[in-house]
C-alpha cells in the first residue's frame, strides 16, 4: 500500500513536536523561568538560538517547556472526548429506537456549544485552570465524536458478518468487542486527530485569554499573550509561539487527512 504524503508529513510534524515536548520535560537549554535582566530582547545568537524575551528568558526553552503543557492538555482532552464519545455513541447504536432518538437529539443540542464557549462558562464557574480547560474541551468535542460513532456503529451492527456472529450465539458485549470496536478503529483515529487539532487551538486560545493555563506554568497561549505587548519592539517574539501553534494544528489536520486516505484508498 502506498503511503499518502499527508500521512508522512503529519506523522513527522507531530512526532517532532512530541519529541520537543518530551525533551522539554527533562532538558531545556536554559531554565524557562529564570529571569535575566541584563539581556532582554536578545536577537538570535549561538547562546540563545531564538533570542530572549522581555524578561531575558530563553525563548527556545520556554517554547520547549510550553509544548509539554499544550500537547499534554490536548492529549488529555482527546482521551476524555474519545472515551465519552465512544461510549455514548456505541450505547446509542445498541439501545432501542426511541432511546436512540433521545440521545441523538440531546447530542445535536450539544453541537451548538463550541469548545471555547463551554470552556468560558466552566471557567466562569470554577475559575481558570488547565484542568478545567481540558474537561471543557473534552466535553464539548465529545458530542460530535458520539454522533459519528453512533452512525458508524449502526452501520457495522447491520452488516452480514455481525448478523452471522449473532446467529452463532455471540452476545452484544462480544459483538461490540470483537466486531464493532475493531471496525471503528479507522473512524476513531481520524476523529482523534480532529479533536486534537481543536484541543490545541482551544487550549492556546484559553491560555491566551488568561482562562486556561495560569502563571508560572509556560504554555504557547500564555507566551502569545505575554509577548504581544512588545509586538512593536520585537515583532518576531510573538511569532514563534504563533508558528508552533499553527504547525501543531496543521500537523494534526494532515495526520487526519492521511489516516483517512490510508484506511480508505478509494479517496485518492
Amino acid at each position: 500500500m502506498k503511503r499518502s504524503p499527508s500521512l508522512v508529513a503529519g506523522v513527522v510534524i507531530i512526532g517532532a513536536l512530541s519529541g520537543m515536548a518530551f525533551l522539554g520535560n527533562i532538558w531545556t537549554p536554559y531554565d524557562p523561568t529564570t529571569v535575566n535582566s541584563t539581556n532582554v530582547f536578545d536577537p538570535f545568537s549561538w547562546q540563545h538560538l531564538l533570542g530572549t524575551d522581555q524578561l531575558g528568558r530563553d525563548v527556545l526553552s520556554i517554547l520547549m517547556a510550553g509544548s509539554r503543557t499544550s500537547l499534554a492538555a490536548a492529549a488529555a482532552a482527546v482521551i476524555i472526548a474519545m472515551a465519552l464519545g465512544l461510549s455514548v455513541g456505541i450505547l446509542a447504536a445498541t439501545v432501542s429506537r426511541r432511546a436512540d432518538d433521545f440521545i441523538t437529539a440531546t447530542l445535536a443540542i450539544g453541537l451548538a456549544f463550541p469548545a471555547l464557549l463551554v470552556a468560558l462558562i466552566l471557567a466562569a464557574t470554577y475559575g481558570p485552570s488547565t484542568e478545567i480547560a481540558i474537561v471543557a474541551i473534552g466535553l464539548a468535542t465529545s458530542t460530535s465524536v458520539a454522533l459519528v460513532t453512533r452512525s458508524e456503529a449502526r452501520r457495522i451492527l447491520g452488516t452480514s458478518y455481525v448478523i452471522a456472529a449473532r446467529y452463532a450465539g455471540a452476545n452484544t458485549t462480544e459483538v461490540i468487542r470483537r466486531h464493532v470496536l475493531r471496525n471503528l478503529l479507522p473512524s476513531i483515529t481520524v476523529q482523534a486527530s480532529g479533536v486534537a487539532s481543536i484541543a490545541i487551538a482551544a487550549e492556546a486560545t484559553l491560555s491566551y485569554l488568561g482562562l486556561g493555563t495560569t502563571p508560572p506554568h509556560p504554555s504557547w497561549g500564555r507566551m502569545l499573550a505575554s509577548t504581544q505587548q512588545y509586538i512593536l519592539v520585537t515583532p518576531l517574539l510573538p511569532l514563534w509561539p504563533a508558528l508552533v501553534i499553527a504547525l501543531a494544528i496543521y500537523g494534526c489536520n494532515l495526520l487526519g487527512d492521511g489516516l483517512r486516505e490510508y484506511f480508505d484508498p478509494t479517496l485518492t
Binding site: 463550541p114 486560545t205 504581544q228 509586538i231 489536520n253
Partner: protein
C-alpha cells in the same frame, strides 16, 4: 405565519433554557456570590445581610424568575466589583461588538458566495490552488494566531493600520473607529468565510451539474452569468451554515476583541470571568444567547422568504 410563530416559540424556549442553565451553574458553586464579594473572612451576619439583599436566600427558580423579570425591564443589577450598572455597561460595549459581528458576517457571506462560485467554475488552475490554500489556512489556524500575525504584518511591518485599541470618542471619531475595526473584521470574517466557502462551492458544483445551468448556458449566457442566476439558491444554505456557526462567530469575536484590545462585550466578559463578577457574567451571557437565538430566528425566516420550497415544511 404559523411557521414564524413556531420559530419564535422555539427561540424563546432556547433563550430561557440556556440562560437558566448558566444561572443554575453559577449558583451551585461552593462559594456563593456573597463570599465572592465579601471574601472568606466575612462575618456570618454580613454574609446573611448581603444574601437577603441580593435575594440569594430564596429558592433557585424564584431567583431566576426575579432576575429575568428585572432584566427584561432593563435592570441587570449592579456589578459585584465596581458597583456600576450592568445594563448600561453592556449597552456601551455593544457599540463595538455589534458592528464587529455584523460587518464580519456580511463580509464572510459575500466573500463565500463569490469565492464559491469562482472556485466551482475554475477547478484546475493556480487561482483555485490559492483559494484552497487560503481556506485551509482559515480553517486550520486559530483566530488568536491569525490576529497576532495580522498585527505583525499590517501594524508593525507595513504600518498602515493600528495594532489595536478603539478611539476614546467612540463612533464620533468615525474615521479612526472604522480604521481600528478593519483588521478585527478581516480576521474574524476570514475564519468564517473559510468554512462558508466550502459549502458555497459544493452547492455551486451541484448547480453546475443541473439542467437549469445547462439551459442558462444554452441561451447564450457566459459561465459566470449562468452561475449568478443561482445566487439565491446558494445564499440559502450559506445562511443556514452561518446561523449554525453563530455561536462560533461570537466566541471568535470574544477572542478578536482581546487580541485587538477593543472595548467590546467579549473583552468585558473575559475580564469579568477572571474577576468572578457573576452578575455581570450572567447579564453578558443573557445578551449573547439572545443574539444567538435572534440571529437563528431571523435567518430561518429569511431562508423561508428566499426559498419558497421551505415554507410548507
Amino acid at each position: 405565519m404559523s411557521g414564524v410563530l413556531r420559530r419564535l416559540a422555539v427561540s424563546g424556549a432556547g433563550i430561557l433554557g440556556s440562560t437558566f442553565f448558566v444561572f443554575a451553574l453559577l449558583r451551585v458553586l461552593p462559594g456563593d456570590l456573597a463570599t465572592a464579594k465579601l471574601g472568606t473572612d466575612a462575618t456570618p451576619e454580613a454574609l446573611q445581610r448581603l444574601r437577603s439583599e441580593y435575594g440569594l436566600d430564596k429558592p433557585l427558580f424564584t431567583q431566576y424568575v426575579q432576575w429575568l423579570g428585572n432584566a427584561m425591564r432593563g435592570d441587570f443589577g449592579s456589578s459585584l466589583m465596581s458597583g456600576s450598572d450592568v445594563g448600561s455597561d453592556i449597552v456601551s460595549r455593544l457599540d463595538v461588538t455589534l458592528p464587529l459581528i455584523v460587518a464580519s458576517s456580511l463580509l464572510a457571506v459575500m466573500a463565500a458566495l463569490w469565492l464559491g462560485q469562482r472556485s466551482a467554475l475554475q477547478r484546475s488552475n493556480w487561482k483555485s490552488v490559492v483559494l484552497t490554500l487560503a481556506s485551509q489556512i482559515g480553517l486550520a489556524i486559530p483566530i488568536v494566531v491569525l490576529g497576532i500575525v495580522a498585527v505583525v504584518i499590517f501594524a508593525v511591518w507595513l504600518r498602515i493600520l493600528p495594532a489595536g485599541g478603539f478611539p476614546v470618542d467612540g463612533w464620533r471619531a468615525t474615521g479612526s473607529a472604522i480604521r481600528s475595526l478593519v483588521l478585527p473584521v478581516a480576521v474574524l470574517s476570514l475564519s468564517q468565510a473559510a468554512m462558508l466557502t466550502r459549502f458555497a462551492r459544493s452547492e455551486a458544483l451541484d448547480f453546475i451539474a443541473s439542467d437549469t445551468y445547462r439551459t442558462a448556458r444554452a441561451t447564450g449566457m457566459t459561465k459566470p452569468q449562468s452561475i449568478s442566476t443561482a445566487r439565491r439558491l446558494l445564499l440559502v444554505p450559506v445562511l443556514g451554515v452561518l446561523a449554525l456557526q453563530i455561536s462560533t462567530l461570537i466566541v471568535g469575536a470574544v477572542v478578536v476583541e482581546n487580541v485587538f484590545a477593543l472595548p467590546g462585550l467579549g473583552a468585558m466578559l473575559v475580564r469579568d470571568i477572571a474577576a468572578r463578577d457573576y452578575l455581570k457574567v450572567q447579564g453578558s451571557l443573557l445578551v449573547v444567547t439572545t443574539i444567538v437565538f435572534t440571529v437563528q430566528f431571523a435567518t430561518g425566516v429569511l431562508q423561508e422568504r428566499l426559498d419558497p420550497r421551505r415554507r410548507t415544511t
